[in-house]
Each structure stands twice: as structure tokens, then as C-alpha cells.
């Protein structure tokens, strides 16, 4: 009886191990096309960029891959570049803040509508998102132009025509318009999952409507705010198309500056170094978001238990898909 007993668990363990191995193999097989694609078209170019950032620019504007150095990174400390980064960071911050201010009430409105109305509103939020970005930006350019409808309206009201195009204001308007969707969707998901009996409890406990919002609704939707801010800040920091078209490339930003290094100035190492800096900054932001996201999830767990997990996301996905 002894040997039989002993051998059977071993056999079982071996079988389990084999099964686990098979599962792992199957998983790798499923992931491999996507992984291969990312490897070739994402990881490899990124690697190349990193390599180039340590290269040297020859006097003729060609990139010499011999003689590695950190000259390009040192050049990032240049006043002009620091100024450009600062301006880009300021514009991205302004865009993010305006997106929160505009997007939060909007997402709140959508999330508190009846279910079928919500789906329609969400699709309407998504429509501009599905439209070609270039087309949208040119539409804004037409709207804001001195011969455009906004100016005509202002003139007919007696305020005279205005010149807003090719100013930082125009760029900001365009940026907010371009990235608002990225703010509204995570905010919507957070608000849609909100357990409104909690705000009722706050009202019942002598909080005014505003106090209930600040003490309960806002903290409980923090994960959505943080996610939205990352999703808006990161792309607007490196944004290239919007400032180029609406700013007339007068106010130089990081995105345009990098493009210029690669195209016109033919200083690939400098462009590459600046790109690497942006990527690192973005990774840091995403990591911070991940951390705060998991923290906020702790708080919402009991609500999820009651309502079924991830119902919010599921609904967003279906609403977006339909």
C-alpha cells in the first residue's frame, strides 16, 4: 500500500506540471502574433531611437554611429530646449486642467442619465474621437480664422473681428478639444460605478450638496480623474499636429521641435535624446497612475461586490462598440 500511495501523488504532480507547461505554451502561441508585431514596429524602433540618442552628428548633418557619447543629452540643458520643454509642460498642464474642468461636469451629466440615454451620449462623445484628427484640427482652424464664423459672429455682435488663430489661445482651445474624450471616458467610468447611496448618506448626515460632492463623490472618483489626467497630459505634452496647425509653428513646442530635428535640422541624435526624455517622463506618469489606481480600487471594492465586477467598463465598451 505504501509504494502505491507514494507513487500516485508524484504522478499527479508530474501531470499537473505538464498541464501547466501546455497551458503556458498555448498562451505564448496566442500572444505571439501581437508580441511579434510590437517587437518589430515598437520595441525595435524605440531601441534604435535610444541608440541614435548616443550617436554623433557629423558636420554634414549625417549621423555617425561611431564614437558613443552623451553630448545630445547634455544639449537638452540648453536654454532654448529647457524653454521649449517648460512651454510644452505648461500647455499640457493647462490643457489637462481645462479638460478636468470641462470634462467632469460633462461626465457627471452623462453618468447620471438613464441607461439608454447614456449610451447615446457616449456615442456622441466618441464620434469626434473616431474622426480623423487632422480633419478636426483643420475644422477648428476654419472656425477660429479671422474670416471664420467665430469672428463673423463677434463682428455682428459689435465686438469687431478678432485674431485668435496662431496664438497660444488657439492652440489651447484645439488641444482641449482634441483630448477632451480621453478625459471624459475614464471620468465617466468612475462616475458610472459610483454608488449614489453614498452621497445620499452624506446628505442624510448633514452635508450640503456641495459638501457631499467634495467629501464623497470627488474622492471616490479620484481614480478616474488621475487616469484622465495621464491620458490627456502625456499626449498633449508631446503633441505636434495641433500646435503646428493652430499655432502656426510660431510657438515652438517639444513635439514640433523633435520633428524639426529629424526633418529639417538633421540632428537625429538630439531629436532622439529628447524623444527618450519624453518617453521616460511618460513611463513615470503611467507608473504613478497605476499606483494611485490600485489604491483607489481598494476603496471601491465593496461597491463592486454588490454590483458585479467591472460592470462599468463592460458598459462603456458595449456603448462604444455599438
Amino acid at each position: 500500500m505504501g509504494p502505491a500511495r507514494r507513487s500516485s501523488p508524484t504522478a499527479g504532480a508530474a501531470g499537473e506540471e505538464a498541464a501547466a507547461l501546455a497551458r503556458r505554451r498555448q498562451g505564448m502561441l496566442l500572444a505571439s502574433p501581437g508580441a511579434l508585431y510590437l517587437l518589430i514596429f515598437f520595441v525595435a524602433p524605440l531601441g534604435l531611437i535610444s541608440v541614435y540618442s548616443f550617436a554623433t552628428r557629423t558636420s554634414t548633418g549625417r549621423t555617425s554611429l561611431s564614437g558613443w557619447n552623451v553630448e545630445s543629452y547634455r544639449a537638452l540643458g540648453d536654454d532654448i530646449i529647457v524653454g521649449i520643454i517648460g512651454r510644452s509642460a505648461w500647455l499640457a498642464t493647462l490643457t489637462t486642467v481645462l479638460c478636468v474642468v470641462v470634462g467632469y461636469p460633462f461626465a457627471y451629466y452623462i453618468a447620471t442619465r438613464p441607461r439608454h440615454v447614456r449610451a447615446v451620449l457616449l456615442v456622441m462623445v466618441m464620434i469626434p474621437f473616431w474622426t480623423n484628427a487632422l480633419v478636426r484640427v483643420f475644422a477648428i482652424r476654419f472656425l477660429l480664422g479671422s474670416n471664420g464664423p467665430a469672428s463673423a459672429l463677434s463682428e455682428s455682435l459689435g465686438f469687431g473681428t478678432f485674431r485668435i488663430l496662431f496664438t497660444p489661445t488657439a492652440v489651447t482651445i484645439g488641444m482641449v478639444y482634441s483630448f477632451l474624450t480621453f478625459m471624459v471616458l475614464p471620468l465617466y467610468v468612475a462616475l458610472e460605478r459610483m454608488d449614489w447611496s453614498l452621497t445620499e448618506a452624506a446628505r442624510d448626515l448633514y452635508a450640503s450638496g456641495a459638501k457631499a460632492f467634495w467629501k464623497v463623490t470627488l474622492p471616490l472618483t479620484r481614480s478616474g480623474i488621475v487616469a484622465g489626467c495621464v491620458l490627456v497630459f502625456v499626449p498633449s505634452f508631446g503633441s505636434y499636429v495641433v500646435p503646428d496647425i493652430l499655432g502656426g509653428a510660431k510657438t515652438l513646442l517639444v513635439g514640433s521641435y523633435i520633428a524639426r530635428q529629424f526633418r529639417d535640422a538633421r540632428n537625429w541624435p538630439l531629436g532622439a535624446a529628447l524623444s527618450v526624455l519624453l518617453i521616460v517622463a511618460m513611463l513615470v506618469a503611467v507608473a504613478l497612475n497605476q499606483r494611485s489606481g490600485s489604491g483607489a480600487e481598494d476603496g471601491s471594492r465593496p461597491r463592486n461586490r454588490r454590483r458585479g465586477p467591472d460592470q462599468g467598463e463592460a458598459e462603456t465598451v458595449t456603448a462604444v462598440a455599438s
Binding site: 454608488d195 447611496s197 453614498l198 445620499e200 448618506a201 452624506a202 446628505r203 442624510d204 448626515l205 448633514y206 452635508a207 450640503s208 450638496g209 459638501k211 467629501k215 464623497v216 474622492p219 471616490l220 481598494d298 476603496g299 471601491s300 471594492r301 465593496p302 461597491r303 454588490r306
Partner: protein, 355 residues
């Protein structure tokens, strides 16, 4: 009302949500210090009534007074009432202490009074030592206590409880029933609680208001509601009962539709159609032929026997009607399926209910 001022006074209150009438012209007075239950099936308007007292819903029509003060249209933060929500609605991003402090802080109460009152409340619900935990680190029973403490710490004039025990398992629920009763005696304030569980309502409350389809059908003590139901719905909803169709013969007799004449007190005029409610545990089963000294009886045949451990339930066919008889505390089963029997009951066991 004998009380000079009722704790809660509802007068002609109606609540409509669009076309739907959730609460239909209710009049109700709840006394100071009373433990009152609003009982009814889901969708009967009991929760809406409670929410109107809390101020979370506003009445479409009517007047609502708390200790004489009209509050019908006042926002929830301007009412001297607090609520224990159905799923507790504890703030997940706050500790137990922060949850309990919330109401006091909103009213600007500062230390040392704040600290003292929080300590009192946590002690009262036996949560001392749990103050720094978060709601998701507590069991269902503990969460329930936090919800109670969070409401009671504000010393409301009326405490509203929305299905307070609904989320707990049976054993814990029975424990909490006793605790809630003790707590109410201790603090001495009016408790209004909503439940769909009739046993819970009978066991806990001094008076019960039975609701159905937005209307308040009957208000009375548990005994009145159980023994003298005012309508067929109340008789059927509270406990188990046999409903027999009948018409009134005189002030003390009704004739069942199967022709039998039984004794039952009624104020309904002669000839009107009524129903007779016979509780399964208030009737006896006898061998056919034995006659009772007083009361009424019906002859029938045992159809089915269900053994429940503490009781045996016989289903007796008496002509076209089927009567459930519950026998408790008897050793063995004196009757078998197919036996000819007589169902008998004392005078007063049968209640005549209007349709």
C-alpha cells in the same frame, strides 16, 4: 393619537414618479419612542415612505411633520433624522472613525465633544478597537454596527432603518433583532424600520404598518395585525393562513361557500361577501365524529402530510377547499393520508376579513 405630538406625522402624502404612484395618499402617525415597522412586499412603497421621512425623496402631495415641525420639502441635511441604509452605504474611503464622525463634523462639532460622542457611539454598538479599520475590512455584522453608530452618534429624534438586517445571514439576523430592540430601549428614540420580512416585523416592533401597492392597509400591534387582519391581503401576507370564501349570515355567523355555517364575529352587513381567515396553528384535527363543545368545525379528509420537525402540517380537503392544519408538540402522527377527520377550532379563531 393619544400623544400630544407625534414623532412622525404623515398626512395625505402621495409620491408619484412620473406616471407611477409609489405612495398613495397615506396617513400615519408614529409616536415618540415607538419601534415602528413598515411592512410590505417589494415595490409596495414602504422604502419610498421612509425616504420621504429622511428627505431623500420629496412628497408630490401632502404634509410631513417631525415633532410638529413641517419638513415635507426640507432637504435631508435639515431634518432631525438619520438613516441606516439598506446596504449600509458606509464611505469606503474613510475609516470607521471617520465614518462615524462624519455627521458631527458636518454640523461643526469639535473636540472634545466630538471625540467623546464617537467613543460613546462605538462603545454602544461594541465596535471599540475597530476605529481605524476600513469598512471593507469588517464583517457584515460589524458594518451594520458602524452604520448604526454613524446614525445614532448624531442623536437624531427619529432613526430610520431601511431593511437593516436584509444583508445578514439568518443566525446573525436573529441576534441583531434582539440587539436592535435593546438598543432602541437604551436610546429611547423613535425607530422606523422598513422590512419585507413579516416575522422580523412581528418580532421587533411595537406597531406595524402594512403596505401594498402604495397604500397603507392596516396599522396595529403585531397581535392585532396577526389575529385581526383588516383585509384579505394582510391576512395572507402576515404568516400562513387558510382563506375561505363566505358570506355574512348574521353578526356572529357566516356561511362558507361549501354550505357550512360557522361562528365568527363580524360587523359587516348581512349578505355581504367576505373571506374567513383561519390560521393553520389555531385549528385542531380530530377523528371524524368527535364534536367540540364550542366553536366550529368542518369535515374533511387528510390529503397530504408534511413533517417539519417541530411541527406536522396536514393538508385536509374539505369539499372543494383545502385547509392547512399545523400541529405542534405532538408525539407521533395520529392521522394518515386518507383518514376521515374533522377540523375544529375555538370561537374567535376565525377572523372575518373584508375583500
Amino acid at each position: 393619537m393619544t400623544d400630544p405630538v407625534a414623532a412622525v406625522e404623515i398626512e395625505g402624502v402621495t409620491k408619484r414618479f412620473g406616471e407611477v404612484v409609489a405612495v398613495d395618499n397615506i396617513d400615519l402617525a408614529i409616536g415618540d419612542g415607538e419601534f415602528f415597522a413598515l411592512l410590505g412586499p417589494s415595490g409596495c412603497g414602504k422604502t419610498t415612505t421612509l425616504r420621504m421621512i429622511a428627505g431623500l425623496d420629496l412628497p408630490t402631495e401632502g404634509s410631513l411633520r417631525i415633532f410638529g415641525e413641517e419638513v415635507g420639502m426640507a432637504p435631508p441635511d435639515r431634518r432631525p433624522v438619520n438613516t441606516v441604509f439598506q446596504a449600509y452605504a458606509l464611505f469606503p474611503h474613510m475609516t470607521v472613525r471617520q465614518n462615524i464622525e462624519f455627521g458631527l463634523r458636518m454640523r461643526g462639532i469639535k473636540n472634545p465633544e466630538l471625540r467623546q460622542r464617537v467613543a460613546e457611539a462605538t462603545g454602544m454598538v461594541r465596535l471599540a478597537g475597530m476605529e481605524e479599520r476600513r469598512p471593507d475590512q469588517l464583517s457584515g455584522g460589524q458594518q451594520q454596527r458602524v452604520a448604526l453608530a454613524r446614525a445614532l452618534v448624531n442623536q437624531p429624534k427619529v432613526l430610520l432603518l431601511d431593511e437593516p438586517l436584509g444583508a445578514l445571514d439568518l443566525k446573525l439576523r436573529q441576534e441583531m433583532q434582539q440587539e436592535l430592540k435593546a438598543l432602541q430601549r437604551e436610546v429611547g428614540i423613535t425607530f422606523v424600520f422598513v422590512t419585507h420580512d413579516q416575522e422580523e416585523a412581528l418580532a421587533m416592533s411595537e406597531r406595524i404598518g402594512v403596505m401594498s401597492e402604495g397604500r397603507l392597509l392596516q396599522v396595529g400591534t403585531p397581535r392585532e395585525i396577526y389575529d385581526r387582519p383588516a383585509s384579505r391581503f394582510v391576512a395572507d401576507f402576515i404568516g400562513r393562513t387558510n382563506i375561505l370564501e363566505a358570506s355574512v349570515e348574521s353578526a356572529s355567523t357566516v356561511r362558507l361557500d361549501n354550505g357550512a355555517l360557522i361562528e365568527a364575529e363580524t360587523s359587516t352587513p348581512e349578505g355581504s361577501r367576505v373571506a374567513v381567515s383561519l390560521r393553520p396553528e389555531r385549528v385542531r384535527l380530530q377523528p371524524r365524529g368527535t364534536t367540540a363543545a364550542e366553536g366550529s368545525s368542518l369535515d374533511g379528509e387528510v390529503r397530504d402530510i408534511t413533517y417539519l420537525g417541530h411541527a406536522v402540517v396536514y393538508e385536509v380537503a374539505a369539499g372543494p377547499v383545502s385547509i392547512e392544519v399545523r400541529v405542534e408538540g405532538e408525539v407521533g402522527e395520529p392521522f394518515a393520508a386518507g383518514d376521515e377527520v374533522t377540523v375544529a377550532w375555538d370561537r374567535g379563531a376565525a377572523a372575518v376579513v373584508a375583500d
